[in-house]
C-alpha cells in the first residue's frame, strides 16, 4: 500500500499552486462565484485558455487530441487544487462530453471537437434533464426525428445549466419512439445558436442561473450524433462511472476559514475554539474531509489501473457532498446569529461566504444523481442486492 503522491505528482501540485497564485484574479473568483461555474464570463474564458495551454484541462487525454497522456491521478490533483482555490473545474466539454467522444465517437468527431475542447476554446452544456425525466433519465422524450441527413428536434429540456453561455448542447434525445425507453435514446452535439432554440432563465436559491431550453423544429446534422443511434443511454450510464466525482477541497477551504473564525472570535471571555463542543465538531469535520480525500483519490487509483469505478464513484460523490452540507451546518452553528449575514453586510463574518455556501450546498446532493440514487447504486453494484 502507498497513500502518498509520487515525486512527479508532488511537483505537479507545487506547479499548479504556483499557477493558481499567478493566474487567478479576485475578479475571476468573483465572476465564478456569481455565475456558479467557471465559464460563461469574460474572465473565465481567458483563464480556461491559459489552463488549456498547459494541457491541464484534459491531461489524461492522448497527445493527438490535445492531452498530455498523463495519469488520471494528475487530473484529480489539478481539479482538487482548483477546487481549493475556489474554482472547481466542472467543464461539461472536458469532463463529460469529451471523454465520451474519446471513447465512443467517430474519428471525424474526435478531430472536430477534442482539440478545441482541450485548448479551452469551446464549451458544452449538459442537455439531459427534462421536466418528467430527472432521476429517471430514460424517461426523457425530446423528439429527434430522422430526416435522412439530419434530425428534426422538438421538445423541452430543464435545469440545463450554462446553456445561455456555452457553445454547444450535449443533448440526449429520443430517436426511437417505440419499445423500451432506454433503447431509444441518442446523443448529439447541437450548436446552441441553431434557429428554433429558445433559452429561458430559471434562478436558483443560490442566486445562480440555470435554464429551460425549448426546441422548436431545430435541425441537427446527422454527423453530430455521437456513436450509434439508440445506444445513447448505454453511453450515458457508462460515462457516469467515469465522470462522477466531487473534488472535496472546495469545502476544505471553507472549513479552514471556519476554523480561523473559531480561533479568532472571543465568546464569554475565551476563543470559540476552546469550547469543547465546538472542538469536537470541527475535529469531526476535519476527519470527514480526510475520509473524502481517500475516497476521491481511490477513484483516480482505479481509473489508472484501467478499471471502472462504479459503486466507488457513487460512494465518493454521495459522501463528499453530504460532508459539504455538514460543514456548512457546523459552520452555521459556530457563527450563530452572524451566520445569516450576507455578503455586503459590514458585520458579515467570512465576508458572507458561509451564508452563501449554506444555500448553494443544498443542490450538491441532488444534481448528478441524488444521494438516494447513489445509495441504490452502492447497494446494487457494491453488494449485489437485487433491483426493486
Amino acid at each position: 500500500m502507498d497513500f502518498g503522491f509520487k515525486k512527479e505528482e508532488s511537483e505537479l501540485i507545487e506547479e499548479v499552486r504556483e499557477f493558481i497564485e499567478q493566474k487567478i484574479t479576485s475578479e475571476l473568483v468573483e465572476e465564478t462565484h456569481q455565475l456558479g461555474a467557471i465559464y460563461g464570463g469574460a474572465e473565465a474564458r481567458e483563464f480556461i485558455k491559459k489552463l488549456g495551454a498547459r494541457g491541464w484541462l484534459t491531461p489524461a487525454w492522448p497527445r493527438d487530441y490535445g492531452g498530455l497522456d498523463s495519469s488520471e491521478m494528475v487530473t484529480y490533483i489539478i481539479r482538487d487544487e482548483m477546487a481549493y482555490a475556489g474554482l472547481p473545474l466542472y467543464f461539461v466539454a472536458a469532463y463529460n462530453a469529451g471523454p465520451m467522444i474519446l471513447r465512443d465517437g467517430s474519428e471525424e468527431m474526435k478531430r472536430e471537437f477534442l482539440p478545441p475542447i482541450a485548448r479551452g476554446e469551446i464549451e458544452f452544456a449538459l442537455g439531459y434533464t427534462e421536466p418528467q425525466a430527472g432521476s429517471d433519465l430514460a424517461a426523457l422524450n425530446i423528439r429527434a426525428e430522422d430526416r435522412g441527413d439530419h434530425f428534426l428536434l422538438n421538445g423541452q429540456k430543464m435545469f440545463n445549466t450554462s446553456t445561455h453561455v456555452a457553445d454547444y448542447h450535449w443533448l440526449a434525445a429520443r430517436t426511437n419512439f417505440d419499445g423500451p425507453k432506454h433503447k431509444g435514446i441518442s446523443l448529439m452535439v447541437v450548436d446552441l445558436k441553431s434557429p428554433g432554440i429558445t433559452i429561458r432563465p430559471l434562478i436558483t436559491m443560490a442566486g445562480w442561473r440555470t435554464n429551460e431550453v425549448y426546441y422548436d423544429d431545430v435541425v441537427v446534422p446527422k454527423k453530430n450524433m455521437m456513436g450509434e443511434k439508440n445506444r445513447g443511454f448505454y453511453y450515458l450510464m457508462g460515462a457516469l462511472d467515469f465522470e462522477r466525482m466531487f473534488a472535496p477541497s472546495a469545502y476544505k477551504r471553507l472549513f479552514e476559514e471556519i476554523v480561523d473564525y473559531a480561533r479568532e472570535t472571543v465568546f464569554n471571555g475565551r476563543p470559540l475554539s476552546k469550547d469543547p463542543l465546538i472542538r469536537q465538531k470541527l475535529a469531526q469535520m476535519a476527519i470527514e474531509l480526510e475520509v473524502s480525500k481517500l475516497l476521491y483519490y481511490q477513484l483516480a487509483y482505479i481509473l489508472d489501473r484501467e478499471k471502472i469505478p462504479n459503486y466507488q464513484a457513487s460512494m465518493e460523490k454521495m459522501f463528499a457532498t453530504e460532508v459539504a452540507q455538514r460543514i456548512c451546518n457546523t459552520g452555521m452553528e459556530v457563527l450563530g446569529l452572524y451566520g445569516q449575514l450576507k455578503k455586503g453586510d459590514p458585520r458579515a463574518p467570512l465576508a458572507g461566504k458561509l451564508e452563501f455556501f449554506y444555500r448553494s450546498s443544498v443542490v450538491e446532493t441532488i444534481y448528478a444523481g441524488t444521494s438516494e440514487i447513489q445509495r441504490n447504486i452502492i447497494a446494487e453494484r457494491g453488494l449485489g442486492l437485487p433491483r426493486g
Binding site: E9, R263, S273, Q280, E290, Y301, G382, L383, L385, G388
Partner: protein, 391 residues
C-alpha cells in the same frame, strides 16, 4: 460475498492494495482462523476462565504470529506495521478471543518503544516463542486514558520501587506473566504528563491481586490491585518520569491496530448479513430489494470502506516511519463511530434472527462497543485531532 476493496493489483504509484506477501498472509490467516475459531469457540472462551486455549496459542506461535513485528534478533519476523494490521484484520474477522492483542500490541509495542536492549533481549524472544504473555496496566478508576487519571504511585526505596494503587480494564492480566504498569513517580506540578513512569511487574509478585471484570463481550479485562508491590529498579521501562511520551505513541499505534481488528469485524458483519438479504423473502420478494433496506446497506458499505481506508492509511504511515499522530487519531475516531453504526444497521436489516444468541452477528455488536472504548473512543480522539489542528 462482497469483493473486498483491495482487489486491484498495485504498482509503485498511490496504492490502495495489499502487496503479494500480505495477500498470502491474509489468505492463510483467513483459512486457518475459519477452522480454528468458529463462533462456538468464541462463545466458549467468553465463558472460559482463561479465555483462550494453549492448543490454539501454540499453533499461532508456529505460524510466527507472535513475533510478526519484532526484529529478527529477538526471534521475530521483522514484519511491518501493515503486516500486523493484515493479521489483526483477520483476527477481528473471527472475533478471536485470547491475549494476542495484549501480548503483541499492548506489551510488544510498549517494549519496542521504550525497552532497553537487555529488557527487549530478555522478554521479546519469549513472546515470539509463545512462553510469555504480556499486558499493559494503564487506566484507573477515572476510566480514561488521560494523564490526569494516573495516580497509582511508585516510590523509590533504595534499589527498588514500591507500587501502590489500583488499575482497571487491564486486558488479560489474569493470564499474563508480566504486566507493564503505568505509575506516577512524581506528584504533578501543573503538567500531568510529567512524572509518569513505566514498570515491568511480574504477575506472581506478592501484593498483586487480579480480579476479572464481567464484561459485555466476555473478553477478559481485569482489576489489578497493587498493594506495596516491590519492583526492582532495573524493571523501570524507559526513562524515569518520562513515560508519557512513550504512552502517547503506544496509544496511537495501538489505536490503529485496534481499528484493523474492527474493520475485519465490519467485513464479517457484512458477510453475515448481505447473502441473507438476497434470500430472505417478505411480501413475495427478497428483503434486499426494498429501497429502505438497500439504503441501510449502502451506508454499511460506506462505513466499512471508509474505515478501511482510514485504517490502512494510518498503518501505512506508521510502517513508512512518517508522522502518524493526526491520522491515527482521525482513524480511531472515525472507525469507533463507524463500526458501531455499521453493526447496528446490520442488526436492523437482519431483523429478529440477528438478535438470537446463536447468530454470530451479536458477537460483532459486542466487539464493536468493546473496541470503540479501548484506547479512547471517538470523542477522546476528536479532542486529540482538535489539538493537532491547533485549536
Amino acid at each position: 460475498m462482497q469483493k473486498e476493496v483491495w482487489a486491484f493489483q498495485g504498482d509503485n504509484r498511490m496504492d490502495y492494495d495489499l502487496n503479494e506477501e500480505q495477500q498470502i498472509l491474509r489468505d492463510s490467516a483467513r483459512s486457518f482462523l475459519a477452522k480454528q475459531c468458529p463462533g462456538t469457540f468464541v462463545r466458549e472462551m467468553a465463558e472460559d476462565e482463561k479465555g483462550y486455549t494453549s492448543e490454539l496459542w501454540r499453533k499461532m506461535v508456529e505460524l510466527g504470529w507472535m513475533g510478526i513485528l519484532f526484529p529478527e534478533q529477538y526471534g521475530g519476523y521483522e514484519g511491518s506495521f501493515l503486516d500486523l494490521a493484515v493479521l489483526l484484520y483477520e483476527m477481528g474477522y473471527v472475533c478471536l478471543p485470547g491475549p494476542y492483542f495484549s501480548t503483541v500490541v499492548h506489551g510488544g509495542i510498549t517494549l519496542l518503544e521504550a525497552g532497553s536492549e537487555i529488557q527487549k533481549g530478555e522478554i521479546l524472544p519469549k513472546v515470539a516463542s509463545g512462553e510469555e504473555i504480556l499486558t499493559l496496566a494503564w487506566t484507573e478508576s477515572g476510566g480514561s486514558y488521560a494523564p490526569q487519571e494516573i495516580s497509582l504511585k511508585a516510590d523509590l526505596h533504595h534499589d527498588h520501587y514500591v507500587l501502590t494503587g489500583t488499575k482497571l480494564f487491564v486486558p488479560d492480566a489474569h493470564v499474563a506473566g508480566k504486566i507493564i504498569c503505568v505509575a506516577r513517580t512524581q506528584e504533578p506540578a501543573g503538567d500531568y504528563e510529567e512524572g509518569v513512569s513505566l514498570f515491568i511487574v511480574e504477575r506472581e509478585n506478592p501484593g498483586l491481586t487480579v480480579h476479572v471484570h464481567s464484561t459485555l463481550a466476555g473478553d477478559k479485562q481485569c482489576e489489578v490491585e497493587f498493594n506495596q508491590v516491590q519492583v526492582p529498579g532495573e524493571n523501570l521501562l524507559g526513562e524515569l518520569h518520562m513515560g508519557w511520551p512513550v504512552l502517547q505513541k503506544v496509544l496511537q499505534k495501538a489505536s490503529v491496530a485496534k481499528c484493523a481488528q474492527m474493520i475485519g469485524g465490519g467485513q464479517r458483519a457484512i458477510d453475515l448479513t448481505v447473502p441473507y438479504l438476497k434470500e430472505r423473502e417478505q411480501f413475495g420478494r427478497p428483503v434486499g430489494s426494498f429501497q429502505a433496506v438497500k439504503h441501510h446497506c449502502a451506508n454499511i458499505l460506506t462505513l466499512l470502506d471508509t474505515s478501511k481506508f482510514m485504517t490502512f492509511q494510518a498503518a501505512w504511515r506508521i510502517s513508512e516511519g512518517l508522522s502518524f499522530e493526526k491520522e491515527a487519531s482521525m482513524c480511531k475516531a472515525w472507525v469507533s463511530d463507524s463500526y458501531r453504526q455499521l453493526v447496528a444497521l446490520a442488526h436492523q436489516v437482519m431483523g429478529g434472527i440477528g438478535f438470537m444468541e446463536e447468530h454470530d452477528l451479536q458477537l460483532y455488536f459486542k466487539q464493536a462497543k468493546t473496541s470503540e472504548l479501548a484506547f479512547g473512543d471517538a470523542r477522546f480522539h476528536r479532542e486529540l485531532v482538535a489539538q493537532q489542528l491547533g485549536l
